[in-house]
Symmetry: C2
């Protein structure tokens, strides 16, 4: 069974439940808007991990559905607001909620998602525990997103953001940011899976670590794809994060390590310029790609996946455990 | 004891608790931002009503603090996002969160508020019940805000909003909108107060109705002040809602009833024009003020307050009940 098959097999269970939850307390008009975020895609990696973690400690997939739906809802809740924050028009090649319905409706849709997380959580086994984990995770994600914005080198109009902007970002800052922004939800996905499967504390802790390491690897790969390009319907867009002024990208940070002072200045100049010519962007990306940064980033992601897989050592062998290992590998091998 | 004294006496208890909750899981930087929304003012009418409703059924003020804080947090959560939606720079004469910290930080602050509501709710007696009421209330408020935006006659760039805009708004639409947008939270404030005070089902139902009627009256008075002007540091701004293209204002709706066709057309033209001259606005407001609309609106608010006070008949006399009656009167007598 390929990883795509693993994800597809669990997708319908989660989607049916979460769409039912999204409908609660929503008018037909609002439901159309909130549904858009779900039906336009997504790999459903996180909820699949929740279900598999539940099964890996002896629980049934059914018990994990509400918690898995929560995780996917949290993900989409943050995506709706991220797209507003970044004024993004496209996601997965399709219009974002804000592009299709406007920022105002996207804000209201986002707020509705948060209430849907609550509805899904209260239907889960161990609902009180699940709610607490999700709410703490959300606050960490918010802080991560705050760092991510403050690591950008240009492009924000707010005087406050300009004042608070990080002039330099080191690896410690970077890992603190991605652990909060991205790894938090992978960790929560695996933790709640272990909990609803009635895993013992050692198993739940191991699954949490597995999730966190997978999440770090996932974000590193995201950074790689946001520089090196991502397979998509419209071909590869190279250097997206450089165009978006992001210093909080591991490929950018690794390349800065290797560059001569002149090249460093050139790259930082491009990151810090609000208006860029195509020529400047191409030159900056050329500089980036001349280093070993992509290769080193890929190796770093592999290291986190190796750690993640060893976190599963405490679990006895099972079909679910094997699938979790496959998903972990898939996270660094994907090209989209 | 004046109503201002009643509110002031309860303010510190609520504020201390809610600031403590806002601090949970927030960095010092984010806490500064979320605190801004609280320290810049607000009357704290709703949390005072929660506490008094608790006391009116025999509970102690202390038991009501977390629930009262929840209500005030919900209020401020929606205000932060409302100010983003309406791109408002000033509230109570001071910069809004978005004006001071930018839209991006305001969004993250808003999201943090929602998690704080959860933290406050889980510390309340009957936390499960409280959480459910708050989440349902939030979804109704979101729908109310959606109507409010769709009742505007111009000023939104989104094609979707333009397409979905209400060409006409009648009283039924209006009351549906304000019940959802405004009365929902007053109802919830009083309901949770009755619940944490261990009121019997009849008392809780009576308090809920009291809250709902107070909320409707409150919004009608808000509409009056947004046309007739509000006492403030910068003097009165007349016709604010007319400038903001709002057809969802009872004074506007009542005036349309009375006007000749030519005057109606003139007023609607102003509401529907994206760019307005001062002359046009003054003329439209002149037309508005030539009718009995303000007087009729004020009478309507008095009727809801009379109904609200009669809802309290089932409660035995108490200091708290008397204060609730005073607050009800205050809601239609305020000029700010």
């Amino acid at each position: 069974m390929s990883v795509v098959d693993i994800l597809t097999a669990r997708r319908k269970l989660v989607d049916d439940f979460l769409l039912k939850m999204l409908r609660l307390g929503a008018s037909a008009e609002l439901y159309e808007i909130v549904k858009h975020q779900i039906i336009t895609g997504g790999k459903r990696v996180r909820p699949a991990m929740t279900i598999l973690c539940c099964e890996a400690v002896g629980g049934s997939a059914e018990d994990a559905i509400p918690a898995a739906a929560c995780i996917e809802l949290v993900h989409n809740y943050t995506l709706i607001f991220d797209d507003i924050i970044d004024q993004s028009d496209l996601r997965r090649g399709l219009p974002t909620v804000r592009a299709k319905y406007g920022d105002v409706m996207a804000i209201l849709a986002g707020m509705h998602y948060r209430e849907t997380i609550y509805e899904a959580a209260r239907r889960s086994p161990k609902s009180e525990r699940i709610e607490k984990i999700l709410s703490l995770a959300l606050r960490r994600i918010i802080e991560g997103e705050r760092f991510d914005v403050l690591f950008e080198q240009a492009g924000r109009e707010s005087e406050y953001v300009k004042k608070m902007m990080y002039k330099a970002v080191d690896e410690k800052d970077y890992f603190r940011m991605i652990k909060a922004k991205t790894a938090t939800l992978f960790e929560a996905a695996c933790k709640v899976g272990g909990l609803v499967g009635n895993g013992d504390p050692g198993q739940v802790e191991a699954l949490s670590r597995f999730g966190r390491n997978c999440g770090v690897a996932f974000q590193i790969v995201d950074d790689i794809l946001d520089i090196g390009g991502r397979q998509g319907e419209l071909g590869k867009e190279i250097g997206k994060d450089a165009k978006e002024h992001k210093l909080g990208n591991i490929v950018v940070l690794f390349s800065l390590d290797e560059l001569s002072e002149a090249e460093r200045d050139k790259l930082l100049h491009v990151l810090r310029s609000f208006r860029l010519s195509d020529f400047d962007v191409k030159e900056a990306i050329g500089i980036l790609l001349s280093t070993n940064a992509l290769k080193r980033a890929w190796e770093a992601s592999r290291e986190f996946i190796t750690k993640a897989k060893s976190n599963l050592d405490v679990l006895t062998g099972s079909e679910a455990k094997r699938m979790l290992m496959d998903i972990a590998d898939f996270l660094t091998e994907r090209s989209f």
